[in-house]
Symmetry: C2
Subunit: 468 residues, 2 copies
């Protein structure tokens, strides 16, 4: 599924770019094979394609310095945050220079009174939340991994709270970006809304480093709710669980999290996180609000669950009990992986209109059974978004082919239901083949025209998203 449409630069060009950076960066530039491999390796079955060098930048100006040097010699530049991307975003199919942003850790400013913070791209979501301790605020977007906020913006990430708080698209107010010519620009302001020009912020969020490198971002924060309650509710089938989700959303219950784990995933979590849950499709839910509000929401949800044969619905406001459940949910990937020793779990996701959720999940479960794939289903179902985690024996080409075909059918199914081939993981290399199935040719041409306009020499993370 990898596309390498452009030419690898000459070794001479690459050497010139690297040599021009060596003196300044010293030991913060590495061409060691182990380092080059490490910074191209992610949780994907795509082969690792290392860059020619890895530079550890500490400031926006240093990122600009690297991009300028690479632009001069037409050498690719790949941004790296924490390496938790799932679709080969940090591979270097044409070589070039990987810029690791992990050391850009400054909290630039915190405006608690405006519910926003400006951070450097390498700050992770848990680091930001640790910084916010004692402010009464939190940053709600929580992909499974402790990803960097720059990487989360670049891939338009979301997570379990998105049904209530939105995705990175909704929670980034402003960006500092290094463009392909090495120029530093700022997009957006700290104002909550604006109609002053093209929305460069939203164009760059989800652009996966192909239009520019995000070095700083201003994100919205949320107040920690007065009360939080959470609970779990078992169902007889994934279809009935999904129908309860659909009704919950349609009734307008302002649920903060509503996650589906199928019976295979529950079994995996029981084993991995020692939960002791009944091994049946289960919803994990959480409510945020006033004390009276969360009780009201939980009661309304419990009634809906009951209508669809779910229950018993057990909920608690006790922080430790809730914490254990959500830790288990966040560990779902590792739990799934433990189901098949020697195999690797690969997470893929789609998103459909909520009315098609039950149908899409049920058909996908049937497909898993019929095709002999071993996979769990787990999802942010309040958005119509769900993941499957197929377990692949990487030494068995037949197994790999079976899983690839399954993911192809999953994507076609979601698209046929009015959905998208990627709810929150991005395109990278892994989902490039599906973009022409989702977008019409004119829309893809428009994306390519924008790519060419902002990156005329195709040096920004080439071979990803809409490769030109």
């Amino acid at each position: 599924m990898t596309a390498t449409p452009a030419q690898r630069p000459s070794a001479a060009a690459v050497n010139k770019a690297i040599n021009s950076l060596k003196e300044y960066f010293g030991s913060r530039l590495s061409t060691a094979e182990a380092v080059r491999h490490q910074y191209a390796h992610t949780l994907t079955w795509l082969p690792t394609q290392p860059a020619d060098a890895v530079v550890f930048a500490e400031t926006t100006d240093e990122v600009a310095k690297v991009v300028s040097a690479c632009a001069e010699h037409r050498v690719p530049v790949i941004a790296f945050g924490t390496g938790t991307s799932l679709e080969g975003h940090v591979n270097a199919p044409l070589g070039g220079v990987t810029i690791c942003l992990r050391d850009m850790k400054r909290i630039v400013s915190l405006h608690a009174e405006d519910l926003d913070a400006t951070v450097e791209a390498g700050v992770t979501r848990t680091e930001l939340n640790a910084h916010l301790r004692d402010t009464g605020l939190f940053f709600p977007i929580d992909p499974g991994a402790d990803a960097s906020l720059g990487g989360m913006a670049a891939t338009r990430a979301s997570g379990t709270n998105a049904v209530r708080y939105g995705t990175m698209k909704d929670n980034v107010l402003a960006l500092t970006v290094v463009l392909a010519n090495g120029e530093v620009i700022h997009t957006g302001t700290r104002a909550r809304k604006s109609s002053a020009g093209y929305d460069l912020t939203r164009l760059l969020v989800g652009s996966e480093g192909t239009l520019g490198i995000i070095t700083e971002l201003t994100v919205r924060l949320a107040g920690i709710p007065e009360a939080i309650s959470g609970g779990i509710c078992p169902f007889a089938s994934v279809a009935s669980a999904c129908e309860a989700v659909m009704m919950t959303i349609q009734m307008g219950i302002p649920i903060a999290r509503i996650e589906l784990l199928d019976e295979v995933q529950v079994r995996a979590c029981n084993n991995y996180s020692k939960l002791g849950l009944p091994e049946t499709p289960t919803l994990f839910v959480e409510f945020h609000g006033s004390t009276a509000g969360v009780a009201e929401q939980a009661e309304a949800f419990g009634a809906i669950a009951g209508e669809f044969g779910g229950g018993p619905f057990r909920w608690t406001t006790h922080p430790e009990e809730r914490g254990a459940l959500w830790q288990a949910r966040h560990d779902a990937f590792w739990a799934a992986q433990s189901l098949r020793p020697g195999a690797r779990a690969f997470s893929t996701d789609v998103c459909v209109p909520i009315s098609r959720l039950a149908e899409c999940v049920a058909e996908t479960k049937a497909d898993i059974e019929a095709s002999g794939v071993i996979a769990t289903v787990v999802g942010h179902v309040g958005d119509g978004n769900f993941h499957t985690l197929p377990l692949v024996d990487m030494d068995d080409p037949g197994d790999i082919a079976r899983v690839e075909a399954f993911i192809g059918r999953l994507t076609e199914r979601a698209l046929a239901m009015g959905g998208t081939c990627s709810g929150e993981h991005g395109v990278g290399q892994g989902k490039m083949a599906y973009l022409p199935k989702e977008h019409d040719a004119g829309a893809l041409d428009a994306m390519r025209a924008i790519k060419r306009a902002l990156d005329p020499h195709n040096i920004m993370n080439p071979g990803k998203l809409v490769a030109i």
Copy 2:
């Protein structure tokens, strides 16, 4: 403030484009002077600049037909919805063809179970809400005018509900767009989230017809809350009213509307809408939620208002009383205009981080008094967004100059506080001069590169936003 950087096409080119459309469109194409003027006229002090012809399109394909003909002859194309824009968006500084979308009135689909609807661009917000009657759903975005949804998307409009429900940026899921080459593309899907490629939807929302013409859009709908309560609360000063707003937002009260009217605007509304309110700065508020929830919110707001010397806070769940108040709020523009017979009211807006709101409004009020401008202040203050409505004697060049200078200072003040030169009205012609003060040169260059990439012959609403 008008910019006309490109050349007007030759009369021969314009005639060829118009003649190529005459046979098909018949009486739906007009070159009558009165019609040409009518479809360039808006609520702005910019001079009316009529197009050479106005075409009344009824389908996306017809819009594509007009754009194709104009593209062939390099003739400008200007989209027109209801003509309620405020910054000269529908002027035709280089002539060309105005495409009026007012007859594109179809509700293409309604998916109540997914809380979305797809409509043609000419459907207005009240028409959509009338269609939604009996579904339990509503479309929350409400600029003062009954604008077309296509125009609202094109200008990234918002309104009184944005503090709770977001702006058009947040409520458009998918678009059908005619590009500069006449090609029809679709952006987005009905899925609630996606990370499958560049966010063309968000790029086109707010692009003011300069990158393409929106002919259909899929919008999010909201459930009508179980309970709605609304009320008004007078304050001794705009500063104390704004401080109460800031605290309300910072406390996380999920307020649905919180609008400031200064004492001048209250007086105007008293006269125009026969309200009988005390003529002092006043907040109009509304709460959406469960019956218990809205009572809880109203109580919390009342306590905050009291802390800042506001009150008495009177609130009601009675629909007719609420309706009369909000009608008066929506009529604020006309009420302001009635304050100075013979003068015209012009609405301009800025938006600042909420922590700077009190300061920005107070300084603006002081500026109004010091400069002898007659103007009201009214705003969607929960977002940090407020309008001033200067009343201008259009026969007095001194008055016009005074108001222009005032708007310049207002904009500089908002930008200096980390805000934006336009919260919700867009750029058009009127705010072009302020974009270089808000965005750095590299960001404007990126906008122009995108404009050139998608509209290489500069025919889409030329001379607006970032004219090339």
